[in-house]
């Protein structure tokens, strides 16, 4: 356990990543050039560093990397890349659910977590779930529309 690595499944691929005991998961992922995972507040408050760990959203800036050893990690890259976007990402594009885009990976991951658990959320449930993901541009109405849009797309797929 005092190994200098963690073994995880990152976006579907088993990998061994260098990780000191005092590294946060965010620091480990940034070194691996997972650039959708971003630090802003550094206190678990703002949501830009969101990663799904075994399907649950976490603030990677305040999670010691070794506490995520032997888990499955998902970042926005795992949901889809340009040309092959995932459904939730497509919905954010369709509704312009962003302005500068800095918060968008965290928003998309938080929305993904919500929709997997609750495919037909009410507006109140969407707001409650996303309450800790901050958008400094103030694109909240469009983000709410994007999550609704994603729920519709996922229902059509099913």
């Amino acid at each position: 356990m005092s190994d200098d690595v963690i073994r995880v499944v990152l976006n579907g691929e088993p990998v061994t990543l260098p990780a000191a005991a005092d590294d946060t998961l965010l620091e480990v992922l940034r070194r691996e050039r997972v650039h959708s995972t971003r630090e802003s507040c550094g206190q678990g408050v703002c949501g830009t560093c969101t990663v799904l760990v075994d399907g649950r959203s976490v603030a990677s800036c305040i999670l010691l990397a070794h506490l995520a050893d032997d888990t499955e990690l998902e970042t926005a890259e795992g949901l889809g890349l340009p040309g092959h976007l995932g459904v939730v990402q497509e919905a954010f594009v369709a509704e312009a659910g962003f302005q500068c885009g800095f918060c968008t990976p965290g928003m998309v991951l938080a929305a993904t977590e919500l929709l997997r658990r609750n495919p037909t959320p009410t507006d109140d449930e969407i707001r409650h779930h996303l309450a800790g993901n901050l958008c400094r541009c103030g694109a909240y109405p469009e983000i709410l529309a994007a999550v609704r849009h994603a729920a519709r797309l996922l229902a059509e797929e099913a």
Binding site: T50, A59, H129, G132
Partner: protein
């Protein structure tokens, strides 16, 4: 900072490790501890992780109608527990507005108890709910009443060689009200928990005698408003009667200036929110702000004008921290 992380697989081993020296700290979810490490406020040589102790997680109903909650239960698991919703509504309300979903997915109840930071949501609920905190150390297991556990800033009655293993919470009716000064999911600037025994309200609203009131986040520890509890026993259960008792009791409270709010503003918040919580619990169950008593989570992350500084009660420097 430089430390090792150990993952014991039994409580006995965990206790042995934390009892070994003063430079060892327990890490559960780490949402509080990691901040202290990042800010350089702690420099342990070893962290004892509870990841390999899944037996410490889980919620179980108890014979008295209450709950036994394992210390390693995540706050999300508690938030979504039907048992918590049915038996401990004030706890559920507090969980719904505690931090954000990413924190609740990781943070664990034992950590929320042991952290001992004054500005946390759950301590006043545990104090008003008369929870008992089960801790295990080299000498065995003992229970600490929540009202005797929180001693001050990062200071608790939990021994350095003891591990929180469970929380025992009797059933209650009640509410939790939270005030934040920045965003909706911020740390509380005030938390108010009001509870009664479920039996008290079987045939209508509960009696004013027996109501328990605890406030958190305005001092270095949560505390009961015992003078007000006593006064309410002789108070008619009317809006005017409750308001008068609250005004009198809160005027006598010792409240100090804080980094986030002046003593004057804190006193104002306590008076308003204790009164509203009591009205909800003792009168018709209505939330004075929102009308629907069963809504559970009235604010939905949106600012509530009644919960932020108004023109007559500005913050200490007129702005955010």
């Amino acid at each position: 900072m430089s430390f090792t992380i150990t993952e014991p697989s039994t409580v006995t081993d965990a206790v042995r490790l934390i009892a070994a020296d003063d430079e060892t700290r327990i890490v559960a979810g780490g949402t509080g501890l990691t901040l202290l490490l990042r800010y350089g406020l702690l420099a342990p040589t070893r962290l004892v992780s509870l990841r390999n102790l899944p037996s410490l997680a889980g919620v179980a109903g108890t014979g008295d109608g209450g709950l036994r909650i394992g210390a390693a239960t995540t706050l999300s698991a508690l938030e979504h527990s039907d048992d918590v919703a049915a038996r401990a509504p004030a706890l559920r309300q507090a969980l719904r507005r505690l931090g954000n979903v990413r924190v609740r997915n990781v943070a664990q109840l034992g950590g929320a108890v042991a952290h001992g930071h004054p500005q946390m949501d759950l301590p006043p609920v545990l104090v008003a709910g008369e929870a008992r905190i089960e801790v295990t150390g080299p000498a065995g297991t003992r229970q600490i009443p929540a009202g005797e556990l929180f001693l001050g800033y990062y200071d608790t009655a939990i021994g350095d060689d003891e591990l929180v293993t469970a929380v025992h919470l009797p059933p209650h009716h009640g509410v939790y009200r939270k005030v934040t000064l920045r965003t909706a999911e911020d740390w509380p600037a005030l938390g108010v928990a009001v509870t009664t025994d479920p039996g008290d309200s079987r045939d209508g609203p509960p009696a004013t005698a027996g109501v328990r009131i605890a406030v958190g986040a305005i001092g270095d520890r949560p505390f009961r408003l015992t003078d007000l509890e006593d006064a309410l026993a002789d108070t008619p259960p009317t809006p005017a009667g409750i308001a008068e008792a609250v005004t009198t009791a809160v005027a006598d409270l010792e409240i100090h200036d804080g980094v986030d709010a002046s003593a004057e503003y804190r006193r104002h918040l306590v008076a308003v929110h204790v009164r509203r919580a009591l009205q909800t619990v003792l009168l018709d169950g209505a939330d004075p702000d929102h009308g629907d008593p069963d809504h559970g989570e009235p604010d939905h992350g949106e600012p509530d004008d009644s919960d932020v500084a108004g023109p007559d009660v500005a913050g200490p420097d007129g702005g955010p921290r």
